[in-house]
């Protein structure tokens, strides 16, 4: 069935909206009006579109952190830690290069962030391959460790004494900030996200490396029989996933906050996990999913304000979409098997 790839997510989406309508009705709001608010807050105006896309930018990058290793059969949930370390590395590099040409500084920040995030998740992959440490648990623990390192440093040695309420590093300098796309308020992070998804899709779909990843992920024994360096491939894929999430941290620092502080730990990494699963780990499908989830994020405050709903309401909607997407996928796979066709 050629249309199944679209039919499945659309059905799931419609169902979850219905279910969510029931939920907000129970909470005492008018479902139709809530739908309208979500639409307005997320996609209704150019202003809301900009907010949506700004939220979608880091989500695309963190989703890649789960989606890339998923092709190897690894469930990595360390995006949050990679964002945090990436942001921290970017801020430090930015401060070190504060006298340098802005392009050099931005390039250095991006590189440092990708390296920090990449090495973190690369370490997860290495532990899995050579020490058989479960990658899901190690990456979860690394999240906590990374967040602790960030807090320790920004409260301690790296703290700019002028930041009172929210301890932060010094500012990287307004001239070194990552700019916006054209006249909009959408920053370049969105472009990074799009390009990363596109490039990695090409890498997976069209290159020799992607083929080798499919072999290792599909059957490591067969890959070894063909002489592939399985450990190196596992490490590289994790490194790339971590680098994407690290870049998200750089974008948050260089385009939004100007400093590293605990705002880096805003749940983008965790939301990226949902997006990766909802997109079935397909790099291109991540783009619309990230925009959808970014929209829900952007509409959250409107829902709260106009309908007096608790601020966790948007999380409920995200959760429903996630669960129904996975469930519908299982149902479709079952039907495909009965027909005997390729699932």
């Amino acid at each position: 069935m050629a249309f199944a790839p679209f039919l499945i997510p659309l059905t799931a989406l419609a169902l979850s909206l219905l279910l969510f309508g029931g939920f907000v009705s129970l909470a005492g709001a008018n479902a139709l009006e809530v739908y309208h608010s979500i639409y307005r807050g997320a996609f209704g105006t150019w202003f809301s579109w900009q907010n949506t896309l700004v939220s979608a930018a880091p989500l695309m990058l963190t989703a890649l952190c789960t989606a890339l290793p998923a092709r190897l059969g690894l469930i990595v949930i360390g995006g949050e830690g990679a964002v945090v370390l990436g942001g921290l590395a970017a801020a430090l590099t930015g401060l070190a290069l504060i006298e340098a040409n802005p392009w050099v500084a931005l390039f250095g920040m991006a590189l440092a962030a990708m390296l920090a995030g990449g090495l973190l998740i690369g370490l997860v992959g290495w532990l899995r391959h050579s020490r058989n440490v479960n990658e899901t648990i190690s990456s979860l623990l690394f999240n906590y460790i990374s967040i602790a390192i960030l807090s320790f440093l920004v409260i301690g040695v790296l703290r700019d004494p002028e930041t009172l309420n929210k301890p932060s590093t010094h500012h990287i300098g307004e001239t070194h900030m990552l700019g916006a796309l054209g006249e909009s308020s959408i920053h370049w992070g969105f472009g990074f996200g799009l390009i990363a998804c596109l490039l990695l899709w090409i890498l997976y779909k069209r290159t020799v490396f992607g083929f080798a990843v499919d072999m290792v992920g599909g059957n490591a024994r067969a890959a070894r029989l063909s002489g592939l360096p399985v450990g190196r491939i596992v490490f590289l894929v994790c490194l790339m996933g971590g680098a994407a999430a690290g870049l998200a941290g750089m974008v948050e620092v260089a385009a939004v906050h100007g400093r590293a502080n605990t705002s880096l730990n805003a749940g983008y990494g965790y939301e990226g996990i949902l997006i990766a699963f909802a997109a079935r780990h397909h790099p291109l499908a991540i783009v619309p999913m990230a925009i959808l989830f970014g929209g829900i994020r952007a509409a959250g405050s409107l829902m709260q304000r106009d309908h007096d709903l608790p601020d966790a309401t948007s999380l409920v909607l995200q959760g429903m979409i996630f669960i129904l997407l996975l469930a519908s996928e299982a149902v479709f796979a079952h039907l495909a098997r009965k027909r005997g066709g390729a699932a």
Binding site: T207, V208, D214, R224, K338, G341
Partner: protein, 512 residues
Amino acid sequence: MSNLALEAINVSKRFGELRALDRVSLKLAKGGIHALLGENGAGKSTLVKCIVGFYTPDEGEVLLGERQQTIANPRDAHDLGIGMVYQHFTLIPNMTVLENLVLARPHLPAVIDWKKERRAIGERMARMPFQLPLDASVNHLAAGEKQKLEIVKQLLLDVKVLILDEPTSVLTPDEADEVLGRIRDMTRESGLSVLIITHKFREVMTYADDVTVLRRGKHAGSARVSDVDVKGLAEMMVGSEFSQTALAREAVAEQPVKLDIAGLSVEDDSGMSAIHALSLKVKAGEIVGIAGVSGNGQRELVEVLAGQRPSAGGEIRVMGEVYAGRRRDLLRHGFHCLPEEPLRNASVARMSVAENLAFRRFDQAPFSVGGFLRRGAMAVAAARAIVDFKVRPPTPDTPIGDLSGGNVQRAILARELGERQGRPMNVLVVANPCFGLDFTAVAEIHGRIMAARNAGAAVLLVSEDLDEILELSDRIHVMSAGRLVYETTPQAAEPIVIGRHMAGHGGENHVH
């Protein structure tokens, strides 16, 4: 009362363009063994999967003792007393025997009282045809034990009809005799009805009461086993045109050593020594057969050669250079390996046939240029290989996991033994290449292995089938407890002596 346990009438099933079953009927009598024969890809597995509701047939029906029954899924089949053992193991590897047996029940209580289950299953196990250690992890069971566990799993569900898809392909002849003998006793004692798929005429003639033959998805004939002979069955399977050609073993002059294993030691999964300081040389134009009972280190030996397991000591040299299974060396030296169980060891089930055929060369021209894949070139090469090795269905983009067991084997053979664009094949390691292949395919594979030898490859053949070893080898080693304990040639070989060494009772006349 009818004397039929089950009847399938005019069942058809197609997969895309391929008619896997075309109006096939089958009558299974109560309390007997019915064999289902046919070439690889004839539709045997598809037929039984339709019977148990794993597939929904496109047309036709299944009757259970006169009443028409809709069996929509394997759970319905279970409720009606039908159990099936699939061609590939369906056990949960990390769990124990007991856990596997309990979890197989379709209607489980919310909370499992393991103590009670243990007692109940322990008691019933005593009356089963095979005894299995309840606390052993399935990981550590040998193939034969796994197969027995699959059967016991069904018997404990009180099935009245038991369907077995190639249960003996992974068993030695002795194990097969044990399993089939016990099952025949059960059909006599308790009225169990058994439908069994096999490629081995000997098993059909010895154990079955009735036989049905499929050919290319069509019903080719049914008979009482007492009324047919092997030749008649073979003709029914392939049509009348079959002919057997003898293997041509060409004389080769003294040749250089191409595969040289020196002092190799290997550990098994649990870190115990599986192979002790094994040394072996294989020369060009020579087939060296390794005979032995499975579980004596053969699997570990092949895994080390295949690059799937690290060695714990010693050295492997291919073409005089130290060999570690890296991709570069694999291609440069023309090293080829056909491990057993190709779906587990040599292919990626969800990748297409064309992709699986490209594993050796996907990073070389013409399959890729500048790091980018050329899928068109892969498809063209695959189409040729599919014709050459008669893979069915002949569609390169079917996922290889959807192919019948024998067709997966053929596809992998095509990759390792097929077109090489002029590169020589220097070393060929083969393990149990004919598990699950029909007799025409067996003859063809043997022919290809012999051809590789005649063309100058050094061939190492590891097989549990002594007849295969005797037929193909130039030299024979017997492997027992991780050592090569006896060497002989097919001409000088005495089966009794080989058997004694295989069993580990070499006695005084040790060679090594």
